[in-house]
Amino acid sequence: MKPLSKANNLLLRWTQSEYLVLGLTILLVLAVAPFTPELISTGNLRNILSYMLPLFIIATGMTLVMITGGIDLSVTSIIALTSVIGARLMSHDGGGLPSSGAVLVMLTLGASVGALNGAAITMLQLPAFIVTLASMMFVSGFAVWLTQSKNIYGLPESFLALGQRLPIALALTAALALAAHLILHRTVAGRWLYAVGINPTAAHISGAPVRTITVSAYVASGFCAALASVLLTGRLETASPVLGRELLLDIIGATALGGTSLFGGRGKIAWTLFGVLFLTVLDNALNLLNLSQFSITLTKGLVILLAAVLDALRVRFHIHTPA
């Protein structure tokens, strides 16, 4: 095997680095800030953070699912459903449930949909793509049917605070992310999750409860979607049956960009954080530069292609690295 040339070596170290995407984010900020100093104003940073938190929550759940080698297309529909059901329960004619009760119901509902997804995938042995696709259509349709396409307003202050008061939202997000990180890094379940993603057969033979782990990943994903819904609904002050619909591809793109592999067995919460951060900052910067919606979407697409190429490079260099 030829020794790698110097340039290749640098490229190798670069692509292998966990902080590549974070570095790109910083580069991005440095590049754009001179043109739009508002980018780094406290107000704007609050904006970025506020926008980022629900995305990051969903992406965290998605990371767990992708580590097992699956995917969850139904997350945004879970956001919508939990949003409208929670809102309905809190409204006067829906039961007047206190916010805490509503949040609990939302989280349980999200987890339950996740459980159904997981059950279909493990017990019926159907591909995750199709199961969660059908799930997405059904749950979304259900939410629209329940509300007859109407949004729900007038949500109690205590609920809105969860999404609008940045310290609270930040605390919730941080708690979730920390929990997810610890589970992945510091529990038996986390190790099993990776094993299932790398080689479910070997994991099974080694005593890992493959089915339970897989279902749990989808339950977690549903739970995260519900939690994100709490924040989103609060922030927008509206419960909508189409809430979050446009976020799906952003979430998948950000998670993959961060380095979590679609094929399973690889992924970290920190990586997802970098991915979501990058995409959010990109979105924000392009908005501030007054670029049209077109440029923003176009750039996102190019970025995702870049992520794909990076992933391919990572895989190729990974294999050729000598023992």
Partner: protein, 311 residues
């Protein structure tokens, strides 16, 4: 498991389809009128053409998420050209060239750079949507009547879109069953390593497959333009999922190597469209359409998985 049972399971989608027809026919006699049945085919044409292209990709164990966006961008360009006074045939040609180009981008990254098709086509999806939004300036574009003629012109009782769908189906069927490359696609989908060892030009085949998918997206855009006469920012949205569902319903496996356009994808598309049409004719609550469709898709996929298990 004897041949009869095997045939029964093979025919499950067809039986499901017949059951649907019977159900909706019982709910409302208008449903089975020829005019309505022709409507179903016409309405299904756009998704159907898309699904045919998707079938090629799925057969190789890949996926193309960008088809809806390609539709959008092609329609947007045509709309812009039309409002600028360009002749319709020219606009149509440009649409098809553009969609082929997008297919080519997908092909390049998937077959040459060897990136996962999911990610590549996700990227081109964003790029396509973005370009489309730019061209339409995020507004709706109304197209001149010449386009609507495409949608409404009838020949032997069936509108043009249905004929286009039929042509695409037949062409695709012939390619898949009667040409070397068609058969090699199945081999590749079954096991790409084995196929390569057997001397099959796997890279070339993958390129062709994504080009086909792109082209079908362009054709689907033509049909939809003809039927809607306008391009809105939501043109083609989520159509990729409908295409995948239709193909999978028709028996095409997500894992490659198994599937057909005739009768498979045709049935899958018609099944989905029948549900929607049937629900409309029986004046069902429009809010239950997505749920009904999702349930049928799920049931059909379950059936397919059982079929696989038995084999």
């Amino acid at each position: 498991m004897n041949r009869f049972h095997q045939r029964l399971i093979e025919l499950a989608p067809l039986l499901l389809f017949v059951a649907m027809l019977a159900f909706f026919g019982a709910q409302s006699p208008k449903f089975l009128e020829p005019r309505n049945l022709a409507n179903i085919v016409a309405q299904a044409s756009s998704t159907g053409i898309l699904a045919v292209g998707m079938t090629f990709v799925l057969l190789t164990a890949g996926v193309d998420l960008s088809v809806g966006a390609i539709m959008f961008v092609a329609a947007a360009v045509a709309g812009k050209m039309a409002t600028a006074g360009q002749p319709m045939p020219f606009a149509l040609v440009v649409m098809l060239c553009l969609s082929l180009t997008f297919g080519g981008v997908n092909a390049f990254f998937t077959a040459q750079v060897r990136v996962a098709p999911f990610i590549v086509t996700l990227g081109t999806l964003f790029i396509g949507r973005g370009l489309g939004l730019r061209i339409t300036e995020t507004r709706a574009l109304n197209l001149p009547d010449s386009f609507l003629m495409l949608g409404s012109a009838r020949f032997l009782g069936l509108p043009l879109p249905a004929w286009l769908f039929a042509c695409v189906l037949v062409l695709a069927h012939v390619v898949l069953t009667r040409t070397p490359i068609g058969r090699q696609i199945f081999a590749l989908g079954h096991d790409s390593e084995k196929a390569k060892k057997a001397g099959i030009p796997t890279t070339r085949i993958l390129v062709v497959v994504y080009l086909i998918s792109g082209l079908c997206a362009g054709l689907a855009a033509v049909v939809t333009l003809g039927q809607l006469g306008a391009v809105s920012p939501k043109f083609g949205e989520q159509k990729e999922f409908a295409a995948i569902a239709a193909a999978v319903l028709g028996g095409t496996s997500l894992f490659g190597g198994r599937g057909s356009v005739l009768p498979g994808t045709l049935l899958g598309t018609l099944l989905i469209q029948t549900i929607e049409n049937g629900l409309v004719v029986m004046n069902a609550n429009p809010y239950i359409y997505p749920m009904a469709t999702a349930t049928v898709i799920f049931a059909a996929v379950l059936l397919e998985s059982l079929r696989r298990r038995i084999h």
